[in-house]
């Protein structure tokens, strides 16, 4: 793992405007609000958080599938924040995405071969025969057989479809892959197959992953570093072992205590959260978590906590730490 970041985001914001009847902007959904993060080469960065915390929006913004409202984005040192779609095209090959639902992210009217060949047609100039060979090679690498080339997505199982999704992402030979809940829709036995495959491919190709998931145990297994999101903010970030051993932010503590363990003898003390996630339309003042935080003080209600380094590489945004 080298220290040169493959991707860097500085104070990234992705806001979705809400328009009134006359088309005027009446408010913003602050899906991602002032997030800075760095992804090193060969690293897996786990991004966790609950539904609606903005982790998928962040993932998409990082590779410019969505345009950031504010902030800067660097791919391997190059500023890609302002690049036009055309300028971005050659860079697209270097950053790819794997989606959660391999069924709706594959075109049902194209067979696997067509889906994969299309990727190459966009990216490259090779002739058809070479492309076909490349596709067959990759099918083999992701654990599919040549006969799957002419299959349609509906003829494949969930695990096989996710393998196709992976093959499609890997065809342009990316350096960075955003994996948005890649194993969440899969059964336990298939899940471990795909996890193993992701790890093997990372080693072979020196890939960097941004691994988005709500499943803490999978994130723990996959990631080198983990970031925790709440209501559009990155509230804590640390190396995986550190974060799971010593979670500092109250939200991270709640999240970890809620994860069930496959051991009937452990009866851990759960921190039960009051209330529900506030709307990102009108986020609370001060610390975004203060409405549900068991330790909230007056300061938390008024003042937004800046992110501080609480230990070596351990960042947290909380007044109380």
């Amino acid at each position: 793992m080298s220290d040169q970041p493959i991707l860097e985001a500085q104070h990234l914001r992705t806001w979705f405007p809400i328009r009134g009847v006359a088309g005027q902007i009446v408010g913003n959904v602050k899906a991602v609000d002032d997030v800075s993060l760095m992804l090193c080469r060969g690293e897996t960065y786990g991004l966790v958080g609950e539904t609606g915390c903005g982790k998928s929006t962040l993932g998409r913004t990082l590779i410019r599938l969505l345009d950031p409202t504010d902030g800067r984005l660097f791919l391997d040192g190059t500023d890609i924040t302002e690049l036009s779609a055309r300028q971005l095209l050659p860079l697209r090959a270097r950053m790819q995405m794997v989606f959660q639902d391999p069924y709706s992210s594959l075109d049902g009217r194209m067979h696997v071969g067509e889906i994969l060949m299309e990727t190459l047609a966009i990216q490259k100039r090779r002739n058809r025969k070479e492309n076909m060979e490349l596709v067959l090679q990759l099918l083999d690498q992701v654990g599919l057989l040549p006969e799957h080339f002419y299959r349609y997505p509906h003829e494949l199982s969930g695990g096989q479809r996710q393998r196709v999704g992976l093959a499609r992402a890997l065809l342009p030979e990316p350096e960075l892959v955003i994996c948005d809940e890649p194993v969440s829709a899969l059964d336990v036995s298939v899940r471990s197959q795909i996890i193993r495959l992701l790890l093997d491919l990372q080693e072979q190709r020196d890939l960097s992953y941004l691994f988005i998931s709500h499943d803490m145990s999978v994130v723990r297994y996959m990631s080198d570093r983990v970031g925790v999101m709440y209501l559009g903010h990155l509230v804590e970030e640390a190396e995986t072992d550190e974060l799971f051993r010593l979670p500092l932010h109250p939200y991270t503590q709640v999240l970890l205590s809620a994860v069930p363990t496959p051991d009937p003898r452990t009866h851990r003390k759960r921190i039960v959260l009051e209330g529900e996630l506030p709307s990102p339309l009108s986020p609370p003042t001060g610390c975004p978590f203060h409405t549900r935080c068991p330790h909230a003080t007056d300061r938390c209600r008024q003042e937004f906590p800046e992110t501080r380094e609480a230990g070596d590489g351990h960042f947290v945004a909380c007044h109380l730490v």
Binding site: V188, S189, S192, M222, P260, P264, R265, L277
Partner: protein, 334 residues
């Protein structure tokens, strides 16, 4: 254990007629549920856990494509031979069900309160005012703050966790003896999942009803259930109390499943265990033991005939020829 069985399923087989011939989704499933206990029914997609539960309620159309065999004893009666009229009194009355997807299970054009009242009015002889009172009481019971206001809200106005609570309130409104919860927390976030599971466990104790919890998540089972049945391809392959199952899993499939769960406390210490292959289609059920093609311990005998679900001296039941032999091979967690 001397507790009274409220439900006894004996040799249940459910077949469906399809365009490509008959498939057997559930084959020879037997289990029982006692008063006050939570039985976990676990397995992966397509293992027949939902079909089993919906067969108990007889939700599949028997005139057109479904066929049930075996018997389901509830209150001393065989539900499979009960006339439709009486069955309707059982559904939602003495046996209630909570489904995974609360948004599509609740009717979007009626308020939450109306939907709870509907089941109360069908099953109990009460006036509308009394029914309303009871419905509000149910909302309070499932931990919904400000139940009077929630009563007149529509499902889309509530969050996923709140909707699931409304579903539970609906299900429990007639004080059922048996609650079937089919993946009640799968669509929810972990913090909300923890709340809902806690609610189900509390209500199970308070109302002294039996619960069948259907899930694919072994961790949820470990924390809530007292007994567990593991299903694979339409059959129960192992049944045990929760401690035995997690500490001495006997069936190779159960062992594989447990080893495939990455640990939250440990991180990546060793390679994650992989169960090779995939679940076969119901139309291509393997000869002999159904798990044989994916089993690392399979022998020639496994392909010749199908093992029965047999009790071991420990009380655990397992469907595997080599179970006792493998059990002597030492602790299975490692």
């Amino acid at each position: 254990m001397m507790a009274e069985s409220i439900l006894e399923v004996n040799n249940l087989t459910t077949r469906f007629r399809t365009e490509r011939g008959t498939v057997t989704a559930v084959q020879g499933v037997s289990f029982h549920v006692q008063r006050g206990e939570i039985l976990g029914l676990v397995g992966e997609s397509g293992c027949g856990k939902s079909v089993t539960s919906q067969s108990i309620m007889r939700l599949y159309d028997e005139k057109r494509f479904a066929r049930y065999e075996g018997e389901i004893l509830f209150d001393g009666k065989n539900l499979l031979t009960l006339p439709e009229k009486q069955m309707q009194a059982v559904r939602g009355g003495r046996i209630a069900m909570v489904f995974q997807d609360s948004l599509s299970s609740l009717n979007p054009v009626f308020t939450c309160g109306d939907q709870i009242m509907e089941s109360i009015l069908i099953h109990q002889k009460l006036s509308r005012a009394e029914a309303k009172e009871q419905a509000v009481e149910m909302l309070r019971l499932v931990g919904i703050p400000d139940p009077e206001r929630r009563f007149s809200q529509y499902p889309h106005e509530l969050s996923g966790g709140m909707r699931q609570r409304v579903m539970i309130a609906c299900a429990l409104s007639c004080r059922p003896k048996l609650l079937i919860a089919d993946e009640p927390t799968t669509a929810l976030d972990v913090t909300i999942q923890a709340q809902i599971m806690e609610l189900i466990v509390d209500l199970n104790r308070e109302l002294d009803m039996g619960v069948i919890l259907i899930t694919h998540d072994l961790s949820v089972v470990a924390e809530t259930c007292s007994r567990v049945a593991v299903m694979y391809l339409g059959q129960i392959v192992e049944e045990a109390d929760v401690l035995s199952l997690f500490e001495h899993p006997m069936h190779p499939y159960t062992r594989g499943l447990l080893k495939s769960i990455p640990s939250v406390s440990e991180g990546r210490r060793e390679d994650l265990y992989i169960i090779e292959g995939t679940v076969p289609l119901l139309s291509q059920i393997p000869q002999g033991c159904r798990f044989r093609p994916r089993c690392p311990y399979a022998t020639a005998a496994c392909s010749e005939r199908m093992p029965e679900l047999e009790p071991l001296p420990s009380g655990q039941k397992v469907r595997c020829f080599r179970a006792s032999e493998l059990a002597e091979g030492g602790p299975s967690h490692v």
